[in-house]
Symmetry: C2
Subunit: 228 residues, 2 copies
């Protein structure tokens, strides 16, 4: 009796569509047109099926995107995490940053509504590493959560600015006409007016990591202070 995993046929109409097929098609459309142009109807047409059919294989549009993000999260190459708690937090956070930087729309999806809820075990492993590092450093679990949240938004914010700036660069339909600080009163807001287009200048990765170090240092010291 080797496997005995015979695909025992279940009752009901045989499916013509599979979740994997939907995800593959979605991946293709996103790679081609960008995730903001992905619509349920177009995705269904791509597979050659009615639009409402998708809702039997996927809960939501957001659910579909999260499934893609989870798939991607499992492929993220993970460095060896240091034993020293503070450094472990830094490395895990930087890994999250790099993964999101490579797939910026994941950051957009995760920020819109559900934050990091409904994520799979694999991408959550990095979250676990951050929380564990903070706890090992002496933080309470509650404060460890705060440490992660602060790091998370500090990180996601940088990614969001980059993808928004990139969209602004190409003459896109999504582009807003207002641009950044279009009409600044130079008398009242001299520094902002002097900035001009440099508002959208992106910071290099080193700048991000330096800021991250400062933030983590402060948050961990604060957590250790709570529980002596």
């Amino acid at each position: 009796m080797p496997h005995a995993d015979a695909p025992r046929p279940r009752p009901g109409r045989p499916p013509t569509t599979s979740r994997a097929q939907i995800l593959a098609a979605a991946r293709g459309l996103i790679d081609r047109d960008g995730w903001e142009r992905l619509t349920i109807r177009k995705l269904a047409a791509e597979i050659g099926v009615g639009a409402t059919t998708l809702y039997h294989h996927v809960q939501d549009k957001e659910d579909l995107l999260l499934l893609l993000i989870n798939e991607y999260g499992e492929q993220v190459s993970r460095p060896r995490l240091p034993d020293e708690p503070r450094e472990r937090v830094i490395v895990a956070a930087a890994t999250i940053h790099d993964a999101l930087a490579a797939w910026p729309w994941a950051a957009e999806v995760l920020t819109t509504d559900g934050f990091i809820a409904r994520l799979g075990d694999s991408p959550l492993g990095l979250v676990e590493a951050v929380v564990a590092g903070a706890v090992d450093h002496g933080c309470t679990p509650e404060h460890a959560v705060y440490v992660f949240r602060s790091i998370w938004y500090y990180t996601v914010g940088e990614i969001l600015v980059r993808s928004h700036t990139a969209r602004r660069g190409q003459g896109d339909a999504v582009t807003r006409q207002g641009a950044f600080f279009g009409t600044i009163d130079a008398g009242k807001l001299p520094h902002l007016a002097a900035l001009g287009d440099r508002w959208a200048v992106l910071a290099p990765r080193d700048t991000y990591v330096d800021g991250l170090r400062a933030l983590v240092d402060g948050l961990l010291a604060q957590g250790a202070r709570v529980r002596p």
Copy 2:
């Protein structure tokens, strides 16, 4: 010749709707039902006018919300900003935090798409204060922008978690069924599993300010290092 500001009648059909009237009605509906329940059609019905009429007084739904935010931004009580650059950054950022905390949906609107673009002079005054403080401390304008952005997302993230948690509390239709970390594998992710409901625990304002101080210290030191 006192004022001579006679309301010189312009040609065209006399308007039955004013932008101020629309904003007032929107304020009322938001205060009553929450901003996520505000729809263009309901707003138009509240005024007793066709839905498409609103688009002659307001560019967008987002534009309408930004107008409300600008109105609110002008009423934010502003503390005297210290002369010392670092402290000025802290106080301005904390003021932004408190203003957003009092009107959490403003944070949601500002994060979705346009970031802080299309804001009015008055709310931008606090942004100016942060950037000016960083520049006075020795940062380049580009790095001053990065200082602000980091502070901004650190701040907004905290507000977003609060409003999301608040929505989750009341049995709302908006509530997502997934909740936070519903099905965590305690074997793979022990720290997250042990957290349970405490994931949504809110940090007190002091915790926010302490983290802010650490972040600002690190970012300003980094900026001063660039330009000696």
